[in-house]
């Protein structure tokens, strides 16, 4: 039968496992681990106990996550019948809306935004396909031009963190607008507008459209008026949109 560890050595192990060893204790601990076989054996056994408990704990948590996911799937399939009825109702509503909008030619804010929004072309980083540029911004603009919006968002976001340049905000805002995340686009556009970049007045147009999408017509009109005053690109479209909003 193996002997119990002396109290002082067990106290050292207790302090180690609860993460409370001070510098002097750490030195004793290291010395014992190096030269005391029974101490090392006790340490290894208790480390294994800890790892076994952690393993069990993680397995239980993983099961909990799987059961949440299973619930998500059940909810999704449970809603299928309801969705069939809803789809039928939506078809009727859409048909009604089409008749209504065709006859009365009423355009909602969303329609107007969809009609006027063209994603900003990449005018800052020319992409030549033969070039092998591994830089983050280059890869970001490859994703942007390929319309791989989630990847473009991730890379532009990272590029802004690593090496901030104001134009990144313009393109990232455009990605958000494509994804209809106008609330996130607005602060980036405001930032770009203030940057003094050569094309910064282009933010006015995107701000006007973003505010319109969020049903803030007054703010949208303010930006459009500013565009007309400054003759900012695309001011003709801005004038046309203004007349529709009045």
């Amino acid at each position: 039968m193996e002997k119990d560890l002396p109290i002082d050595k067990q106290a050292l192990l207790d302090a180690f496992f609860s993460g409370r060893l001070n510098d002097t204790e750490q030195k004793h601990f290291d010395d014992y681990l190096e030269g005391d076989a029974s101490f090392r054996e006790a340490y290894e056994f208790q480390t294994d106990v800890k790892k076994a408990l952690q393993y069990q704990d993680i397995a239980a948590f993983r099961d909990q996550l799987k059961s949440i996911e299973a619930g998500t799937t059940v909810k999704q399939s449970g809603g299928r019948i309801l969705r069939i009825w809803l789809s039928a109702a939506v078809v009727m509503l859409v048909a009604g809306y089409l008749v209504y909008s065709t006859v009365w030619r009423i355009e909602s804010n969303q329609d107007l935004v969809q009609h006027y929004f063209d994603v900003q072309a990449n005018i800052h980083y020319p992409i030549t396909r033969s070039a092998q540029d591994p830089s983050l911004e280059y890869q970001a603009f490859i994703a942007y031009e390929s319309q791989n919006w989630p990847l473009a968002q991730l890379l532009l976001d990272s590029a802004m963190t690593v090496d901030y340049r104001p134009e990144f905000a313009l393109y990232l805002a455009n990605v958000y607008m494509v994804e209809k995340r106008f609330e996130q686009a607005i602060p980036l556009l405001e930032h770009y507008l203030e940057s003094g970049d050569m094309y910064s007045d282009r933010a006015l147009w995107f701000l006007a459209l973003s505010h319109l999408a969020l049903k803030k017509k007054d703010r949208s009109v303010e930006y459009l008026n500013e565009m007309v005053r400054l003759q900012s690109y695309p001011h003709e479209q801005a004038m046309e949109l203004l007349s529709k909003l009045k």
Partner: protein
């Protein structure tokens, strides 16, 4: 910066908190993973691993020191896990260029789920111990409570009683393992 209720709830695997995190972040992970052309099950695997890592940090008390928003911190863990997943699959090199957020250096992202044969035996033997021993060993080795904290939490008489009880539990555990080994 991270709400205390999230940290505490996650450490305890509280159903409401875990459900909340699950539903808030599930879609974000799917969108991110699918942008790397990963399948939904792959995205969910990475999502689950990332939640486990986040919970490990909550348990260790690391989340209390975090200065970032939960989303920033958690998505940084997620990006790293996606990156590791893609590296293992030797996927399209463009995805390898995804720069990881700087705060990644500050986070321990290892998810060690390997178990040795000896640890598997310990696990079996643990299930044969009485509930008092299981509870005490869990408090000490898993929750990281000190002997003094266990006195308060589990209402023991004093620290010496806890030490003696823990020593008996470990001894019983060893006996169970030896009994199991000799019966196999």
């Amino acid at each position: 910066m991270i709400e205390q209720r999230i940290i505490d709830g996650l450490s305890r695997s509280d159903k409401h908190v875990v459900d909340e995190l699950y539903y808030v972040y599930r879609e974000k992970f799917l969108v991110l993973g699918q942008s790397f052309r990963l399948s939904e099950p792959e995205c969910l695997d990475v999502f689950h691993d990332s939640l486990i890592i986040l919970r490990n940090h909550a348990k260790k008390g690391n989340l209390n020191k975090v200065r970032h928003q939960l989303t920033t911190y958690f998505m940084a863990i997620g990006k790293y896990r996606f990156y590791e997943h893609l590296k293992k699959r030797q996927a399209d090199p463009i995805t390898h260029l995804v720069e990881l957020p700087e705060l990644i250096d500050e986070i321990d992202l290892v998810l060690d789920e390997e178990i040795s044969q000896k640890q598997a035996l310990i696990l079996q033997a643990l299930s044969m111990l009485g509930p008092a021993c299981q509870r005490l060993l869990t408090f000490f080795y898993l929750e990281g409570l000190s002997i003094e904290e266990i006195v308060l939490v589990a209402k023991y008489e004093n620290a010496n009683v806890v030490r003696a009880q823990k020593s008996r539990c470990l001894k019983q555990l060893k006996e169970r393992i030896h009994g199991k080994r000799s019966s196999d």
